[in-house]
Structures are given as structure tokens and as C-alpha cells.
């Protein structure tokens, strides 16, 4: 199946956006405004959906005209593209969307045709599957680890680098004792925050270099 690579699922959704000429601000504009305000770090709704690696939402206004002699044609609806890469199976992921990030899901998909809401997760799953487009070819560079395992590895890498730097040239007996303590501390250390810290929004000249 094209949607799956190893343990990673690549979901592609095209949801038609409601067109209503009577509105002062159209649905697609309202949607774009909402998305522009949505946090992209650890406060993101996708950080709550803990199995998400990378996800994007895109308002597609129209198809592209590449020039003559190709034909020029236009879509009759705008579409919200939801592209996400996660570990696990589709139904669990969509159910978690409906139950753990209702506010976000409702705020986004209320602008889309036929959205049933999230009160009935089964109906939401059915709706998303109607909007799903099968991925023709999916490439995942790392596809045999979960998000949790990957974040754990990044935490380990950083901690080990600091440990080695701090213990350069230490006597072996001391090192052996310290290494045991290091492993214990590493086990107890909190996981990396999904989506990262706010600090990446700090202008480069004001960033802390550690």
C-alpha cells in the first residue's frame, strides 16, 4: 500500500472548502488566518498527537497553468490539503484527532464541506477517509522507529555528548562510577518536548549559544 513505509503512515487528505458568496470574509481566508495564528512549537495540537513526525495544512486555491500548449483549467472548489506523517495505524490516529484535539479539528474543518464535527469520532473517521487520496509513492528515510524512540535517541545523543565533553581525560575508576550515574540520570531525564521550544522564534542575534 502506497500510504505506508515501514512503520510510518503517510496520510494525504483533500477536503473541499465551503464556498459562500454571501460572506464578507470567505472560508478559505478565515482558515488561513486561523492557521497563521496556530502555535508551531510544543503548544501545537500536533504535539498532543504524539505520533506525528511532520504535518502540514495548505489551502490550495487552484491548479496551476504551466503555459501553452497546455490547457488552462480551474478548480471549482478550493481544497484544504492535510499532509501528515505518523507512526501507527490510520484509525487510531484519526480517533485521537477527534478526541484529543477537538477544538483544533473543529476550528479547521468547520470550513470544509460535509464535516460532521468531532462529537462522533466514527463519523469523523468516515469523513476523513472520504477525503483521503491514496499516496502513489511514499518515501520515509527512517521508517523503523516510533516518534517516541526517535526523541529518546536525540535526548541520548545530546546527553552523551555533554557527558563525554565533561569527562575528557578522567581516570577510568572515576569514569566508570560516573558512567553508571549518567545512565541512571538519563533514564530519569524528561523526554524532549515535541515540536521544540519557543526559543526558535527568537531572533538569531538574541539566541543563547550552548
Amino acid at each position: 500500500m502506497g500510504n505506508v513505509s515501514g512503520g510510518t503512515y503517510g496520510l494525504t487528505i483533500l477536503s473541499p472548502i465551503i464556498e459562500d458568496d454571501r460572506l464578507d470574509i470567505c472560508h478559505s481566508m478565515e482558515l488561513r488566518w486561523y492557521l497563521s495564528q496556530l502555535p508551531r512549537d510544543y503548544r501545537s495540537p500536533f504535539a498532543q498527537l504524539s505520533s506525528t513526525y511532520l504535518a502540514r495544512l495548505v489551502v490550495m486555491d487552484d491548479v496551476v497553468f504551466v503555459g501553452h500548449p497546455a490547457c488552462q483549467e480551474h478548480l471549482k472548489s478550493r481544497y484544504l490539503i492535510f499532509e501528515t506523517n505518523f507512526d501507527g495505524d490510520l484509525d487510531t490516529y484519526l480517533r485521537r484527532m477527534a478526541t484529543e484535539t477537538q477544538e483544533f479539528v473543529n476550528a479547521v474543518w468547520k470550513h470544509c464541506v460535509g464535516f460532521p464535527g468531532t462529537a462522533d469520532p466514527g463519523a469523523f473517521i468516515g469523513y476523513m477517509k472520504k477525503c483521503q487520496i491514496e499516496t502513489t509513492f511514499f518515501f520515509a528515510d527512517v521508517n523503523d522507529r516510533t516518534v517516541e524512540a526517535t526523541l529518546d535517541a536525540l535526548k541520548t545523543q545530546s546527553a552523551l555528548a555533554h557527558f563525554m565533553e565533561k569527562h575528557q581525560g578522567m581516570p577510568a575508576a572515576w569514569l566508570q562510577r560516573e558512567f553508571g550515574e549518567f545512565l541512571e540520570k538519563l533514564r530519569q531525564a524528561p523526554a524532549l518536548r515535541r515540536g521544540g521550544e519557543e526559543s526558535r522564534d527568537i531572533p538569531q542575534e538574541k539566541r543563547r549559544h550552548d
Binding site: 504535539a47 513526525y53 491548479v63 472520504k130 526517535t150
Partner: protein, 198 residues
């Protein structure tokens, strides 16, 4: 527009295809999926977290209500999504330099595709068919693909060392530690905020 999140760039591109070409492209992708060595260059570039190509038939755009007008399209569409590290120019240059055979095999079916070489025409075409991302989330914004792969190697090496070094004497531990350091040192580069790209 928010194509960037940390070290990752979200690219979207859509190109029209004559419908009779779509099955041929799907066959090509099937072969690419089935014959893993054909993905070697894509993997070796090692700066793409995830990428996908999606063929959307001219009658396959979801229609969820009678009030939603039915699409009347002549073309099928190939949509490309990529999550890569580095700048747009680096990405397109690398594609053109290393993956030109594969790219041409995929996009030659799209209308007016100029080929991936020379790169100037290729970049002009990609600029034309690309559209921006409105929201982009990245679980590890400070880490590039290589950082992730390096971290996984470190994790595995540390687990093995922790297991095998438990019963060593002090002298043996010292020697084993040195060997371990040499093994993991290439994978201990620090992660952090991306440099400002151009």
C-alpha cells in the same frame, strides 16, 4: 506562508498530466517501490525526512455534497510533497545534480516539464508549480535527517556498551570506553537552531 519549521522545509508542487499517462507513471512508482536499490540515491542524499507523490485523477477530487460543484478537469494532477533540510536552492540543485534520471522519469509525464538539466529551466518550472504551506509542524525542529540517523546510531551503541561494560574491571572499562568514544564520536554533533538560509 510558513514553508519552514526549524531545519525542515515543506515543499508542495502540482503538475498537470494527460490522463493516459497516469497509469504509466503509477507503474513506474510501483517499480520504484518494489525495487529498493532504485531508492539508493534518494536515501543517500540524506536530507529528506519524508517525501511523497500523489496522483489525483481528474474525477478523484473529493465531492462531499450535491451543493459542491463537480470538477470538470481535462488533466490528472501529480502532487509532490517533500520535507527536507536546507534551503530551496540547495534542494533543487542537489536533485538536479544527483537525481536527474529519477526526476525526469517521474515528471516527464507532466505538461511542459523541461527536464532537470539545465537547472535554471528546472528551477523556473518548480517555482511555477510550487504553492506555499499555511501551517507546518515538525516534532524535532532542531534536528536534520542526518541528526536523527546519527542519534539512533548513538542510542544503539550506548545500549550495547551499557550492556557489555557492566562486568568489566576498571582497566578493561577504560579501554572499552576509549573504543566506544571512537565509535560514536562522528555521530555526536550537536543539534540546534538552523543557520539563516539564503
Amino acid at each position: 506562508m510558513t514553508n519552514l519549521n526549524g531545519k525542515a522545509y515543506a515543499m508542495n508542487a502540482i503538475t498537470p498530466m494527460k490522463p493516459w499517462k497516469t497509469p504509466l507513471l503509477k507503474l513506474l512508482f510501483w517499480i520504484l517501490g518494489a525495487v529498493k536499490p532504485l531508492q539508493k540515491d534518494l536515501k543517500n542524499l540524506s536530507f529528506i525526512h519524508f517525501a511523497r507523490w500523489v496522483c489525483v485523477g481528474r474525477n478523484s477530487f473529493p465531492r462531499l455534497s450535491d451543493e459542491q460543484p463537480a470538477e470538470e478537469l481535462k488533466y490528472d494532477y501529480l502532487i509532490f510533497f517533500s520535507n527536507f533540510n536546507g534551503t530551496w536552492n540547495q534542494y533543487i540543485d542537489a536533485f538536479s545534480a544527483v537525481l536527474y534520471h529519477g526526476l525526469d522519469a517521474i515528471w516527464i509525464w507532466s505538461e511542459k516539464y523541461p527536464g532537470s538539466r539545465p537547472v535554471t529551466e528546472f528551477k523556473r518550472y518548480i517555482s511555477l508549480v510550487q504553492f506555499d504551506t499555511d501551517y507546518y509542524y515538525n516534532v524535532y525542529p532542531h534536528s536534520a535527517t542526518n541528526d536523527v540517523k546519527a542519534a539512533l546510531r548513538v542510542q544503539d551503541a550506548l545500549a550495547k556498551f551499557a550492556r557489555t561494560s557492566q562486568s568489566l574491571s576498571v582497566g578493561e572499562f577504560g579501554r572499552a570506553w576509549l573504543e566506544f568514544q571512537v565509535t560514536v564520536a562522528p555521530d555526536l554533533g550537536t543539534t540546534g537552531i538552523a543557520p539563516v538560509g539564503t
